[in-house]
């Protein structure tokens, strides 16, 4: 399989370059812990208002949200790195080798997924220390969701970056999309608090259903339709993300 081989070469190169940035490594690992320590306590108070429902542990609500947020934000910014690689001629250089163009995308996405898996694991382990209680399989599923969302958003981020080829255009677009996605997902506050129009709007946001799905799992409801729906949407997002990414990487003008 030459695609697998090429993907591995691109992955190991990208991983090596990422690990060589000490600041990046430290902040990458610290980020999930910061979320828990600096935002978690607020949630504990909010949960007392029972806005999330009866008898619900704040961490069971909060950690799934953080995991989805990690998948979204951890992956969306990877396009910036690609623009600088493009500017250095690295992308063009690789496109003239016999390596499959899909591998040039997949190798990089794989690096991002590995990074998110590590961050997601740290997040969950730290959350356990803070007092999170959830079935072990739900924790695994939660980390898996981060990885899958990461694959989707990293792919879309690369595709967008390669199309725009400019940080100045990429940054506002990214904010314009990621921020509403985040606000409408009920990650920070439950959407049940929202007025009707806002709740309807958030129902259109796939991430809201992913968050709800992971929350259902954290409550131990594996076969709950909400959980299954969340899984289905996550898988759908990954397929769409990779399809778009591969298309752009194969296109010539990119």
């Amino acid at each position: 399989m030459t695609i697998a081989r090429d993907t591995w070469i691109v992955f190991s190169r990208a991983m090596r370059l990422s690990l060589r940035q000490p600041v990046w490594v430290v902040f990458g690992l610290l980020q999930p812990i910061l979320y828990l320590a600096l935002f978690g306590p607020l949630l504990e108070t909010i949960a007392d208002t029972r806005a999330f429902g009866e008898d619900v542990d704040a961490w069971q609500i909060f950690v799934p949200g953080l995991l989805v947020q990690l998948g979204l934000f951890g992956a969306s910014f990877v396009g910036f790195g690609l623009i600088s690689e493009w500017r250095a001629g690295v992308i063009e250089r690789m496109r003239v080798t016999p390596a499959s163009r899909t591998s040039l995308l997949l190798g990089r996405v794989m690096r991002d997924v590995v990074v998110l898996l590590v961050q997601g694991t740290i997040l969950v382990l730290t959350a356990l220390l803070f007092g999170l209680r959830a079935p072990w399989w739900a924790l695994v599923a939660g980390i898996g969701t981060v990885a899958l969302l990461g694959a989707c958003f990293a792919s879309l981020s690369y595709a967008t970056a390669l199309t725009l080829k400019s940080e100045d255009a990429f940054a506002p677009l990214l904010n314009g999309i990621a921020l509403p996605l985040l606000l409408l997902s009920g990650i920070l506050l439950p959407m049940t608090l929202a007025p009707q129009w806002l709740e309807t709007l958030s129902d259109l946001n796939p991430l809201k259903h992913v968050v709800d799905g992971v929350r259902a799992m954290f409550r131990g409801e594996l076969t709950d339709p909400v959980a299954l729906w969340g899984v289905a949407i996550t898988v759908g997002l990954v397929l769409i993300g990779l399809a778009v990414g591969t298309r752009v990487f194969k296109r010539q003008s990119a």
Partner: protein, 328 residues
């Protein structure tokens, strides 16, 4: 005769430009059907101002862009039918570079080789030999961002040669380098051809670079090849050399011009102050005859032979100076 390394026939690229406001959508012909033949072991300079179609042509020949029309084979592989075969057989060094600043030079070389299916150890050995040949010993462990402009450019060339391609495309290789690094780079490019028999196709908008480096030149303007040949041949087409005679005084100049023109069988002579400008096919071989003929009858205060430059060539072929055109 062996098959050419590049054989392009009627290679064409058109773009659709979306209309803005009331302007209708239109089609722009970036490259209007060019024929290009490059033989093994040649260094061919592809000369033209920015926007002439150089890069578009290059991107088509390196499989980065599909031609809108025409056919081409590179190293015998058909551009349309076997792009991967083409990619395997060529090296390409883009204008913007090849390496990541934070990456280590040796690792970039090895990874690049592995994308061609070359074994890691073979790649390392070959990479070190290449660097040594390019006077880059000792940069193996260095981060690419710490190299000087000239070193980084030579590393780019090593990246393009790591899989031992039969031909390499260099896109504007010396842009941004100081004069010494440029001369040094040219030396190395020539050596690549001499030592490995690698065919080199080099685009440039610098006349001195095209002149110093290429065995043969292709001049492109507005998407068409407007001239081809060695730099000498092209210069000869312009109409020859200029012989400048300086008369003893402004008053003596017209007389000198008439006399000189008569000796040279009516060669055109212009007077500009005390300088007489004669246009002749071969300046150097004309000079002894001219001076002998003028003898003691005319005082000549100075003599100069001026060879046409590629800029003159470009001016004649396109009606504008390469330098002016490049600034557009």
């Amino acid at each position: 005769m062996s098959t050419p390394i590049i054989d392009a026939r009627g290679l064409r690229k058109t773009y659709k430009v979306r209309g803005r406001g009331k302007e209708a959508a239109r089609t722009v012909e970036a490259v209007k059907g060019v024929d290009i033949t490059v033989d093994a072991g040649e260094i061919v300079g592809f000369l033209g101002p920015n926007g002439a179609g150089k890069t578009t042509t290059l991107r088509m020949l390196t499989t980065l862009l599909d031609p809108s029309g025409g056919t081409a084979t590179v190293n015998g592989y058909d551009l349309a039918k076997d792009p991967v075969g083409v990619r395997r057989s060529i090296g390409y060094v883009a204008q913007m570079g090849t390496t990541d600043s934070s990456a280590v030079a040796g690792e970039e070389l090895v990874d690049q080789a592995r994308l061609y299916g070359i074994d890691r150890d073979v790649a390392a050995e070959r990479g070190k030999a290449l660097l040594s040949g390019l006077d880059l010993d000792g940069i193996w462990e260095r981060k690419c961002g710490t190299l000087s402009g000239g070193q980084r450019r030579r590393l780019d060339i090593a990246m393009g040669l790591i899989h031992e391609p039969r031909m390499v495309f260099l896109d504007e290789p010396s842009t941004g380098l100081d004069p010494q690094s440029r001369a040094n780079l040219w030396e190395h490019i020539r050596r690549v051809r001499d030592d490995f028999d690698t065919t080199v196709f080099i685009t440039t908008h610098y006349m001195d670079e095209a002149d110093a480096l290429s065995d043969r030149l292709l001049v492109i303007d507005h998407g068409e090849i407007v001239g081809a040949g060695t730099s000498e041949e092209l210069k000869r087409q312009v109409g020859g050399d200029q012989v400048l005679l300086t008369a003893a005084s402004v008053a003596a100049a017209p007389g000198l011009a008439d006399a000189a023109s008569a000796i040279l069988d009516g060669a055109p002579a212009e007077v500009d102050g005390e300088v007489v400008r004669l246009t002749v096919p071969h300046g150097a071989s004309t000079l002894p005859q001219l001076l002998r003929g003028l003898g003691d009858d005319h005082d000549v205060a100075g003599v100069e032979v001026r060879r046409p430059t590629l800029d003159d060539v470009f001016l004649t072929m396109t009606g504008r100076s390469l330098r002016d055109a490049a600034e557009v």
